[in-house]
Symmetry: C2
Subunit: 506 residues, 2 copies
């Protein structure tokens, strides 16, 4: 309802505005009810006092002080709406009471998160309830759609649209830098967007950023994909799912990550990008998000089911997450390793994983017959077509498309760690690697990170160089080295695993 | 650990400070771990970088920019502590996982609420979890003690200490203004503290404030009680349970009120005041907090059990809450009514309820034999001793001890509501009364409120004055009157209960 402003020369101790009773009845506003007064540049909530004579129909009476505060002019038109806050609170309470939310309720709630009508305290309550009680399949679908549809939606005029996403938890997972160009080389659209590191030492976006810009407005991104078939972009600036950002902010404070929110968060971004075939890379192993087959199977079927409700074919590949992918951890080191793999100067787990994932995408996209995807992916990589496509994508993104791996600058300060024992490596500790990489400065210092010279099953001799550390500051380097005096990345048979120093050492 | 500041001329992009590795090991601080740097006037959290040579033992290296920001002087001593935030988060997560918290964990959590180390988002998560999963008896006990012991604790050198508390939900409940002087007249200590209205049109503190100051520091309050045996004070300024205030703030945003928190909130304040015998007034009826005998019994036994764990004798009186106590609702109207009852110029539900509650307290305090409390309470009231004691308490509080009921100023603007029907009143609607009183301006406008001329069972004739409205502003008065055109306080047999006006009316 639009009303004209009338100044009221009254002392105001409470937050009130005055409406004519006829206008109030039209909008079903009860006396004392909270309403929103909206101008183009401001909006606030006040209690409605209803009056028959003091304010004529079509006007809203605003106390003088408040009028001044909000720069209201007399007879200026403002919009008056019932305050939906209470409605949003009722939605949160309904969830606490264990009831199932309707599509409309979920949409209103997500809208409230974005508009700021929902306080972070209420988001926290919603997340906690979701963590404890879970959600129905339908609720997750509503949530996913609402999160996508309240942000940027990108649609391409050619299909099918492929995509790949890793749920994370394994260090050094720079696989997308190989997978995307392989798939795009085959003539499929694969507009890959990814996030920066949240708790890891390097997200795909952090790695690509070493050699290329990663943030593009939607039109520019569409152009890159139209030209090259793929992209390696950051999702941040696209504003794909603005609600998700506010949710993640609260999740970080609570240190919880409810599964329905993981599902909605991942698939809403892919739905917003118009993905039709999505491959989820689900690393399994100690320290990753799934550590048993039962958990993996359950999460996979939840992803597939939700995808299908959204009209998206979602396939899940459970991958080995017991040790890093490849040997490098940290943005610049990982960019260098990926480029070497594209140049066929290096092979191993990185190449194998990228080929495995690309193969599934080629088969889903009907570019290869079932069972033939791997051979096709390997051929694209080994023929140099993937490297060529990678350079093409980086060029389209405005990056250093001709850079050689050895030209990528690493941390100025370097240290080596020697093996204290001889033996076969039985375990590589992901958590220690992540901690060391972060002490070294990753992901913020691009050149910081570590290079593992050995992996599980390798034979190592005493005094072999097992790890190389890189940092942008000497202090960080020494700090990491000191940490490794008391914590081990590698375990060999029979060795001491960790020392707990007493109070008087050194 | 106390360390001296050393400036470090380094660029800082992340939030880091530098410690000597020996100091770090002494305090078991790992590299990268969050620590708190504390000065008398500031404190902040940073990640620890450990160094062997750059910073000597006994020093902390702080980047120059940060030093400037916090006004650090070189060689100034600061305190360095591990950041307990993560520990507090773990406590909240443990609760989400359905595990029982230890006494130490609850105390740390409450400490974190008070120190501000716990974000309101985490308090929200804790409250939501409590609402959904409940708490063990032991946890509520820990919580109650922790809430009391982190605030002001008041102890008297004479006993027994009596107290009475209403859990609310019934309008016009000014009973304490009679009960307290009756009990104090009998020679018992009854240091009554109460809150202002939260959602009601008048809390006991709001009513007493009409004729007397209500906020006293602990020493002054003790003196009032020592002189008169009682008091009618506001709990706010005493700072009895500072954690409760922060909890209530979040509860209001969430519009939830988990039972374990109600228990802890009520009993922690009474425990802080040293109460040995506490009577809980539990109004039962539509719109109150308990509406069935089963709920009443359960809540009562939880109060009693928790009281006993705290060494407090807690008795619960379920009282009639189906309509207001007495006839007045709103601070000044209620103060006037209570004073009239003390002057024996009025009798009825207010007098009867006050005598009933006082009787139990007299028996618990061994001033009357079991079964004789009522006669004694009535005698104290009718002899004028209660009035005398009331005036004595108000005088000790520095209030208008000689004021007559008719001298208490009511709202300048007055309206009467006439009955539209004839018949017997079958229901008085508490919720409508509360809404009307708040539209009229209660509890903020002291003179605002309403006077009911009839109660359930009374015979009313068409055009009888059934309600008198009082307000400090004409607009509020008209607004309330308009509201009563469409909503009824009284129901008589056969009448229309509410009208929903269409879009085109008046």
């Amino acid at each position: 309802m639009e009303l004209k402003i009338k100044y009221l020369d009254i002392q105001e101790t409470q937050d009130i505005v005055f409406l004519n009773v006829k206008d109030a009845i039209k909008e079903r506003i009860d006396p004392g009810e909270k309403i929103i007064v909206k101008k183009s540049d401001s909006s606030y909530s006040s209690s409605a006092v209803l009056t028959k004579n003091l304010i004529p129909e079509g006007f809203i009476g605003i106390p003088l002080e408040k009028s001044k505060h909000y720069n209201h002019l007399e007879n200026e038109v403002v919009e008056v709406l019932p305050d939906v806050n209470m409605e949003l609170i009722h939605i949160s309470k309904k969830k606490i009471d264990g009831k199932i939310l309707t599509n409309e309720e979920v949409r209103k709630f997500v809208g409230g998160i974005i508009s700021g009508n929902i306080d972070s305290v209420v988001i926290s309550s919603f997340l906690t309830t979701t963590q404890i009680l879970g959600t129905s399949t339908k609720e997750v679908e509503y949530l996913t759609r609402a999160m996508a549809e309240t942000g940027t939606m990108i649609r391409f005029d050619k299909g099918p649209i492929m995509d790949v996403h890793s749920i994370g938890g394994v260090p050094g997972n720079k696989t997308a830098l190989l997978t995307i160009p392989i798939v795009a080389s085959a003539g499929l659209y694969i507009p890959k967007t990814s996030s920066r590191a949240i708790t890891s030492p390097a997200g795909t976006a952090d790695v690509v950023e070493v050699i290329s810009p990663i943030d593009f407005p939607p039109e520019k991104l569409k152009e890159i994909v139209k030209t090259t078939g793929g992209c390696l972009a950051w999702s941040g600036v696209l504003n794909l799912t603005p609600a998700d950002e506010k949710i993640v902010e609260v999740e970080r404070k609570l240190h919880i990550d409810p599964e329905p929110i993981i599902l909605a968060s991942v698939l809403s971004k892919k739905y917003a990008m118009g993905a039709e075939f999505l491959l989820i890379d689900m690393p399994m192993g100690e320290g990753t998000k799934v550590n048993t087959w039962e958990n993996a199977r359950k999460l996979a079927s939840n992803f597939t089911e939700l995808g299908s409700a959204l009209g998206m074919h979602v396939e899940v590949a459970v991958t080995y997450g017991g040790q890093p992918i490849g040997n490098a951890v940290g943005p610049a080191l990982e960019a260098r390793e990926a480029l070497m793999a594209l140049e066929r100067k290096q092979s191993g787990s990185l190449t194998e994983k990228a080929i495995g994932l690309a193969a599934i995408l080629l088969e889903l996209g009907k570019k290869a017959d079932v069972g033939k995807g791997k051979a096709m992916a390997r051929d694209i990589l080994e023929s140099g077509k993937a490297l060529e496509k990678f350079r093409e994508i980086i060029a389209a993104q405005g990056g250093q498309s001709d850079i050689k791996p050895e030209e990528i600058p690493l941390g100025k300060f370097k240290e080596t760690i020697l093996s204290e024992d001889s033996g076969y490596i039985t375990k590589v500790d992901n958590a220690t690697i992540v901690k060391v990489a972060k002490i070294l400065g990753a992901p913020f210092d691009k050149g910081a990170g570590l290079l593992l010279n050995y992996k599980v099953g390798d034979r190592v001799e005493k005094d072999d160089i097992i790890v190389e550390l890189y940092a942008e500051s000497k202090e960080r380097l020494l700090s990491a080295k000191r940490f490794l005096d008391y914590n081990r990345i590698f375990q060999t048979e029979g060795m001491i695993l960790k020392r707990f120093p007493g109070f008087k050492v050194i």
